[in-house]
Amino acid sequence: MTAVAGARRGRRRSAASAGADRAARPGAVWILPAVLFFGVFAGVPLLLTAVLSFTDWNGLGTPNFNGVANWRHALTDSAIWESMRISLVFMVLCWVVQTPLALLIGVWAAGRELNRAVLSSIFFLPLLMSTAAIAITWRVLLDPNFGLAATVGPWIGFPDGNIAGDQHGALGAVVVVIAWQFVPFHSLMYQSATRQIPKMLYDAALIDGAGRFQQFWHITLPQLRNTIITSSVLMLVGSLTYFETILIVTNGGPGTATMVLPQRMYNSAFQSFQMGYASVIALVLAALGTALSLVIVRFSGYGKMRSTLEGI
C-alpha cells in the first residue's frame, strides 16, 4: 500500500516537472476518505497492537505493561521459528503452484470463442463460494476412510488414504485447496490483462512467422509483466497472512506440521488469551508482509510504473 502510494507520488512529481496540467488533477480532499478509512481501520489498530505487544493482557480489564517480555519470549520460542519456516514454505509453494496455472488458464480464457467463455465461467465458480464452505467440503473429502482421499490416496503414495495426517501430505493438501479456491481470481486478472494487449502485436508477429509458443513467450508474457507482479504480490502477501482454510482443513496438524504463523497468532490470542504475545506475532507478520511487497516492487521495476506499451 505504502509502496504504491510512494510510486504514485514519484510519478506525479515527474509529471509536474514535465509541465502537465495540474489543475485537472483532483485536490487533496479527494484522498480524504481513503486516508480516513486506512487510518481508522489499519493505522490505529496497528498502533494499538504495537502498544499491546508490550503488555500482559488476557482480554479482560486493563492491560499491564510488562516491558519487552513478550518480545524476548518470541525470540526464544522455538514454536514461533517453526511456524515461520512453515509459513515461508507454504507461501513459496502457493506461488509456485498458482502462478503458472492462473497464467495459462487466464491467457486461454482470454480468447473470444464461445466454448472458452462457457468453460471459464464454470471454472470461475469457486470465486463465488465462501471460504468456510470450501474448507469444510475439502475436510470431508480428505477423510481417509470414506472421502476422496480413500480413492485417490493409493495412487499418490498414501495407501491408507492418510493424506491429511502426513506432514507433507497435509501441507500439499492445503496448498491444493487454496489453489483451487484462488486460481480463478488470478486467472480473471490474467484474462482481462491479456485482452488489453493490442492485436496488432500478434499480427506483426504472425507476419514475422512466430508460432503460438513464440507469440506467448515474446509478446503475451512480457506484456503481462505488471499483472504478474501484482498477482504475485497479492499471492505472496496473501498466503503469508492467510489461515482460514488451514484452520478448518487440518487445524494446524498433524501435530503442528501446518501451523502457519497467522494461526499461531490466532491461537495465542483466542485460545490462550495471551493478547500481548499474539500482538508480537501480528507485528512480525505485518513487518514481513510490508517488507515482502517493498522488495518485490523495488526489484521488479514495478515502482517505475513504465507502460508495457512503450513504442506503440
Binding site: 476518505p33 480516513l36 478509512f37 482480554g59 480489564g61 477423510d143 487445524n251 488469551f273
Partner: protein
Amino acid sequence: MGDSPLSRRTFLSAAGAAGIAGLTAPLLSACGTSGPSGGGGGGKKTLQAWVLQDDGQNPIQQASLDDFNKSSSTKIKLVEIPNSGSSGYTDKLRIGMGSPNPPDLLFNWGTGSIQDYAASGRLVDLTSQLNSDPTWKSAWIPSVLDAGKAADGKYYGIPMRGMQPVLLFYNKTLFAQHGQKPPATYDDLLKLVTYFDSQKIQPFALGHVDAWPNLMWLEYLVERLGGPSVFADILAGKPNAWSNPIVLDALHRIQDLVDRRAFGTNFASVNYVNDGAGLLFAKGKAAMHLMGTWEYSNQVDKHPDFAKNDLAFAPFPTITGGKGDPNNVVGNPTNYYSISRKSKDVNAAISFLKKEMSSQMYIDKLIKAGDVPAATGLEARLAASPGPEFAKYVYQMVQKAPSFTLSWDQALPSRFTDPLHNNLQKVFLKKMTPEKFTQVLGQVK
C-alpha cells in the same frame, strides 16, 4: 466486454460513502448499549443470556426464558452464538466479558472456562445463595455442582444441561459376531486390540484431527493409574506435577496402543466434528469408540439404525495395580449458567436460575431431548428419554462416581489449551516422546 468500466468518480464516491458509513456505524452503536438491553425506562429491563447455538437445546432454553418472562418485569432474551470447531463461542464470550456491556447470563463449562472471569470479580458468587437455600442446592447432584467451582472453591454456576461423562462405546453386534466381551481390564482391552486388528477391524475409532478426542485417552489412563489426585496436582500448579511417573506411564501406554494399531493407521486424518470417526464406528469398521455421552445423540441423529441395533456402552476398564477407583469418571460434568456482576438486574437473573433450571418443565424437556440432567431424583422420570436405558446408565454412573474429573482442556487455564492439544497430537503421531511432552507442558507459564 466491459467497455464502460465503473467510472473513477462513481467508484470514489461509492467508496467514500461506504467509508463514512463504516466509520460512523460503530461510533453510533458504541454510544448506546448493545441492542435490546438498552431498552426503555420505566424500570423495565432486558437481560441477555448467551448460549452456545444448538438446534436441539436452544428451543428448550427459550422455553425456560418464556416461562420466566411471563411473570417478571425484567425480561431475559436468548442470544445464540455459533461455535465453529474449537472456538467461536469462547472468543466472543471473552470479548463480551471484557466490554462494559457483558452478557447477563453466560453459558460455560465451569472451572477453567470461567477462571479468568471469576478471578477478576466479573461473576456473581452463588455460594451463599446455594447454602441459604438447601432445597435448591440439593436439587443438584453434588459432584456435578462441585465440578463447576472456580479455583477459589466458590460456586459460580448452576447446571443448565445434561451430564457428559466419557464412556467406552462399542458395537455389540460386532462383538457378538466375534464372540467378544467389552473389556473389564486394560489387559482385556489389549487382547481386544490384537484380536480386532487381526480381523481387519479397527479396534478404536478416534477423531484425532480435532485434538480434544485424544485427550480422553490421557485423562482416563491417568485416572485409572493414579486416581484424581494426579490431575488435581497439575491443576493446582504444583511443581513437577506434569512429570509425575503416572502421566509418563499413561503417555507410554498411548504410544503402545498406537504401535498396536489400536486406532488403525490413518487416524491422523480422521476428524470427529464432521462425522469421520462416528461414521467409521457406525459402519462397523471400528469396534469401539471412547467418547463423551454426546456420541449417543450424535449416532441417534446421524445413524439411527446403528444407534438402535448395535450401539452399546461400558465404563473405561480398570488397570491392574492402578490407584484410581474404577467408578471414577472423566469428561464434562455439564454446562452451567453464570451471572455477570455488572448485570443490570442480578436479582432477576438469580431468581431465573432458581425458578427455572430445576423446574419440572425444563428438566423434562431436557430428558425428552436425550440429555441426562444433573438434577437429583430423576430415576423414574428418565423413562421418558428417547434412550431410557442409556439415560439411566449415565445417571447411575455419575451418581455412584466418587470423583468426576473435568476434561483437562476445560479445567486448566486457557493458556494450556493449545500446547496440550498440539503436543498430545505429536505423542500420538510419535513425533514427540512422553518425556518431552511432560517437559514442555511443565514449562507452560
